[in-house]
Symmetry: C2
Subunit: 321 residues, 2 copies
């Protein structure tokens, strides 16, 4: 019998978990080759523009495999619908039985994506951060910042969004959460002010250029998860001292590193995987003047780890039809 879990139940289970630690373990397991992650499935629509991604896989020898379906339709915002939707299927590796359907509406993806950014910052950000810079004004622009709260004391934000009204709304939201927020008129201003920059847009052409980036800056780029998206000019990665990706495998085809390699600005041989950086201190920042970039495309290993942890925290006797 398949158990069905609502978003409310999932949120309740989440309060008992530390997603950042779960992501750390997930990235280590992934980089150590203990997680099987087949190629991402994808359906791309043009009218209206939207994407459905299918990410799936399993940790070898574990109890369960995961299939996650998540969609992004950015025009939904115009009609007041959420831009993201999703569902997570938890399947026994031993019997193939669909054990649970987590009706998370894409929220677990938001949580694990934000937690991954926090993991990147934990291992790569400079010691002193006076201002956090944000490109974008959507869910991740908010969650990436709040996920950092436990480890980065800075509460000063500078935000840029293509849409001025969205930037205003974002500023209001974050002010309410206790942040002091300035709105930048262009991405360059963000680069000039911030030591930690989060890019969380769906941009298909670069927003930041290499010579704008201050010495000592860390950038987490998490908006680019398909072959056609790009937030950072290739020379941002080309000039960076440290380039880290969540998945070297994904980076062959998608994300900022893929674009920078294609442009001839970066060699994959000097790119590390986040799971390696967690285990090997020599792959991290060696002094405060270094520039680091974490390029996060999202890997099923994250979904597997979070869904498995959630399922253990959920009531055994769940709703069933």
């Amino acid at each position: 019998m398949t158990a069905l879990y609502s978003l409310a139940q999932i949120r309740a289970a989440l309060t008992q978990l530390d997603p950042i630690s779960i992501m750390e373990s997930a990235f280590v397991a992934y980089s150590e080759g203990r997680v099987v992650v087949p190629p991402v499935g994808e359906m791309v629509f043009s009218d209206p523009p939207g994407e459905i991604h299918i990410k799936y896989g399993y940790e070898i020898g574990a109890e369960r495999a995961i299939v996650k379906v998540v969609s992004g339709f950015y025009n939904n915002a115009r009609s007041g619908l959420p831009t993201r939707s999703g569902v997570l299927l938890v399947i026994s590796q031993k019997t193939g039985v669909i054990e649970a359907v987590l009706l998370d509406e894409g929220e677990l993806t938001d949580v694990r994506t934000a937690a991954a950014g926090a993991v990147a910052a934990r291992y790569l950000a400079p010691k002193t951060i006076t201002t956090i810079g944000v490109l974008g004004s959507g869910i991740q622009a908010r969650l990436q910042v709040t996920a950092l709260a436990g480890q980065v004391p800075c509460r000063n934000l500078i935000v840029w969004s293509r849409n001025g009204a969205h930037a205003q709304r974002y500023a209001a939201q974050m002010t309410e959460l206790g942040y002091s927020v300035r709105i930048a008129s262009e991405p360059r201003q963000v680069a000039e002010c911030a030591e930690l920059i989060i890019t969380a847009t769906a941009a298909c052409s670069p927003l930041l250029q290499g010579d704008w980036i201050k010495s000592g800056t860390h950038i987490t780029a998490m908006g680019s998860d398909t072959p056609d998206k790009q937030e950072l000019h290739a020379d941002v990665l080309g000039r960076a001292d440290i380039v880290v990706v969540d998945s070297l495998d994904h980076s062959r085809t998608r994300g900022e590193a893929a674009r920078a390699v294609a442009a001839g600005a970066l060699m994959m041989s000097r790119v590390s995987e986040l799971g390696q950086v967690i285990r090997q201190p020599q792959l991290r920042r060696q002094h405060d003047a270094q520039v680091s970039v974490a390029d996060l495309t999202g890997v099923a290993a994250q979904d597997i780890a979070l869904a498995s942890a959630i399922l253990e925290g959920l009531p055994q006797r769940a709703a069933a039809l």
Copy 2:
């Protein structure tokens, strides 16, 4: 809000539908290039052996896309569990919203697979059938035969199964449904008696050889849906007058045609797609002495069509958590 539908609700909706006609339209749409079907996602386990398949896609310009997850773990039978499990997600092409979760436990796959066999028989089987031959004794061995009932008057079966007890059980089931059933001691006997043969096993080495097949026979091979499975010796396809597959694209890597091409016994240039055969009478049997083979691997176009039809027949106000 995602609507959830139980197997009981799905079965009720099915009684109002004609799956064979739905499959006909689906195969035509697929062969005409109106259905986008990305590569099948797959997770394969060895201990115990099992597979999880992810089939997905959409008809261009339609309202919905489908993601189907179905598993097959054959050892489950030993512990009394169903060998198949599954769930179907119905997603809006316009908003990405997960509109419905069909908790079909893999049954819609069974239904559409059996209906596809009936479509193949409708267009390819000889006029006179005195005996229907069946290799295998599982769900499809039963459903493929019952799906034929509306168009093939023959009620004489000859069945072979690797497992004698399973053959006995199958004979009892089919006798109860009004069939006269003989059990064959080897696959060759089936070929010698039957004019319409259904192969519905998970065999990984060929069960039927080309020189066993009687003139005028039609074979529907539906057990082989992965690159390593094979029910027909390459020379069965090599000698056949007509070879039809559900998907030329799938046949590049999986199914009987792929194996026969790899063995040098078959050229893909003389293989037609079922959707073409439905539209073009000249691709069908021209006289009763011809041997035809339909190699069905299963395509997401079938799932899309059946799930869409089901959803239209389901109550608008469904269960939700």
